[in-house]
């Protein structure tokens, strides 16, 4: 069952929320010792919440559009009173005093949160190997990475623990693990989903979004998540559409899909090129028209631009971890000593790399040469996308240049790891929506993802196109088969 079917069955009292939660917990207990998608299970709390849903049903009250649907949220989303580690020793024992708005939206809609998902420390990474606690495995090949930084959320959906999970995406952290785990992952337009209660990494880029195994569930999740939020100053106040209304289109006639001329020369694994061709022919068959578009500097400029701006913002955002107010605190003789030791002990290698890079590019004498140039390049990239969308409703492109890589493969060369996000991070730089969908499997059984990118507020188009592909290729299947939520 997908989330929509589950919620319907619960609202019609055909199955209880407790039965669904117990089933999901059973599957997690069966599989997660191998995959390790979950950092913190919240089973007891989940069963209590499920009982509340069932009581509402008995009293003929409506628990909401996600009634009894089990979900897992990335561990950088705050839940009041529940440990929220962000994958870091720095926050190993931190219990936030408030809920993230998206957590509240989920629970108000009747969802049952089963646990917090593993992630790269402070969402910095592309393999979930940077978690300070343990790495997560790719459900399709335990020797490979699930992608990152939302690797735990993607793996949880791929394993069939839950039909929906939340992640966050600063440079590809939803879409890249979605591609690697063979599920849908949607990074919404900047400003569409509230970030209140999302532990900040790079505030001009961060967005929260859903993972799912059906397009219907993505639309359902977006209807619940995409509310204006006075607690997030970057939350847009524009009226949200009903995302479900974009589904059920008989054809895609009139839709123009862009193919980026400059991407043709970029080295991409053959299975991914084949998947792109497969999706192109499905969309053509459905009536979409293909047009060439140009993003002349996006691919060249995106990576260096991102790896200046994101660390710059991170170095500023992570200055708050000082050992004084919350989180880890080292024994120290002086205040300076407290800062230096706490941060030296609490942060892992990748976080340290980014803080130092960010501090350097913002430091006196270097700001103009690095930060300002990167900021200008960012605007140029946004303009290139804007011109491209003058002639196209969406763009079809790879999510990643490669299939899931082996654990440890890029650990000694962080810049190689960064290249994994070469097709996803320009989308964050421009603040656009991006959807990664599964488009089949390699000969070795690894999922192959492709990406749809839309203009701002263009989520509906991406969902409609993804549904057309789903009709032909079917919904993504679960790893490990068997009973699944």
């Amino acid at each position: 069952m997908n989330a929509a079917e589950m919620a319907k069955a619960v609202r019609e009292a055909k199955i209880s929320a407790v039965e669904i939660a117990e089933g999901a917990i059973g599957r997690i207990r069966l599989i997660d010792s191998d995959v390790r998608a979950l950092l913190t299970p919240l089973f007891e709390r989940a069963l209590e919440k499920a009982e509340e849903i069932d009581r509402k049903i008995e009293l003929k009250q409506d628990p909401g559009p996600l009634a009894g649907v089990p979900v897992i949220v990335k561990d950088n989303l705050c839940m009041r009173g529940q440990v929220t580690t962000c994958g870091s020793r720095m926050l190993e024992n931190w219990r936030p005093p408030y809920d993230a708005s998206v957590v509240r939206f989920l629970e108000e809609a009747g969802a049952v949160i089963l646990g917090k998902a593993n992630m790269d420390e402070f969402a910095m990474g592309s393999s979930t190997e940077n978690s300070a606690f343990f790495p997560t495995a790719n459900p399709w090949d335990l020797e490979r990475v699930p992608g990152g930084s939302s690797g735990g959320s993607a793996a949880a959906v791929a394993c069939g623990y839950v039909p929906l999970a939340l992640g966050s995406d600063t440079g590809g952290s939803i879409r890249q693990p979605a591609a690697f785990c063979g599920v849908y992952g949607l990074k919404p337009t900047y400003g569409l989903v509230s970030r209140f209660g999302l532990v900040a990494f790079a505030s001009s880029l961060d967005q929260v979004g859903p993972f799912a195994r059906s397009v219907e569930d993505l639309a359902l999740a977006m209807n619940v998540l995409s509310k204006p939020d006075p607690a997030d100053a970057t939350s847009s106040w524009r009226t949200r559409p009903d995302y479900a209304a974009f589904l059920g289109r008989e054809h895609l006639k009139g839709m123009k899909v862009g193919l980026v001329s400059e991407f043709e020369d970029y080295p991409v694994q053959s299975e991914i090129t084949e998947a792109l061709a497969r999706v192109e022919s499905i969309l053509r068959e459905a009536g979409a028209e293909f047009v060439p578009v140009s993003l002349p500097t996006t691919i060249e400029a995106g990576l260096p631009c991102y790896y200046i701006l994101a660390p710059a913002e991170a170095s500023s955002n992570l200055a708050r971890y000082d050992g004084v107010r919350y989180g880890l605190s080292a024994e120290a003789e002086s205040l300076m000593d407290l800062y230096m030791k706490t941060r030296g002990l609490g942060f892992g290698p990748e976080v340290k790399r980014r803080i130092l890079t960010g501090t350097y590019v913002l430091s006196s004498g270097y700001y103009d040469a690095y930060y300002l140039v990167a900021q200008k390049a960012r605007i140029r990239i946004s303009r290139e996308f804007r011109s491209a969308f003058e002639g196209a409703d969406m763009i079809l492109m790879p999510t990643t240049p490669t299939l899931p890589f082996r654990k440890g493969e890029h650990q000694d060369d962080p810049i190689q790891m960064y290249l994994s996000d070469v097709f996803t991070l320009p989308v964050n730089l421009a603040g656009l929506p991006g959807l990664s969908l599964n488009a089949g499997y390699s000969k070795s059984g690894l999922p192959v993802g492709v990406q749809f990118v839309g203009p701002k507020w263009g989520e509906g188009t991406l969902l409609a196109a993804a549904e057309a592909v789903e009709r032909v290729l079917g919904k993504p299947t679960c790893a490990f088969g068997g009973e699944k939520a």
Binding site: G81, R95, S236, Y307, L335, K352, Y360, I415
Partner: protein, 106 residues
């Protein structure tokens, strides 16, 4: 000019981040790698671009500047690594010479 060991230590100091002797080499290589990558950006034509001309769709989303009650104060203080009453306690900030100086000011 590649970044040297002293520069890494200077940046680490600015970032209030203790870096061990073993960490310096890898950090140096990494930062130099990033900056080398960055050279590509310098080839772009960025003439006339206002670096802060970011499109903004959130105008008008400011809240009313009004005080509201928030019940989480005790939860926040309870997380303090070193608390004294309603205060966060920190190690000594001033050293003795500062205190002498303060006395002079008085």
């Amino acid at each position: 000019m590649p970044i040297g060991k002293d520069e890494i230590l200077r940046i680490a100091d600015l970032a209030r981040l203790f870096v061990s002797e073993e960490e310096i080499g890898p950090l140096q290589r990494h930062l130099n790698g990033i900056l080398e990558h960055f050279e590509r950006l310098k080839e772009l034509d960025l003439e006339g671009i206002d670096p802060f001309a970011v499109e903004c769709d959130t105008a008008g989303s400011s809240r009313q500047d009004a005080v509201s009650f928030w019940p989480g104060r005790e939860d926040v203080l309870a997380q303090a690594p070193n608390r004294e009453g309603d205060f966060f306690r920190v190690p000594r900030i001033l050293d003795e010479s500062d205190e002498v100086h303060l006395d002079e000011c008085r």
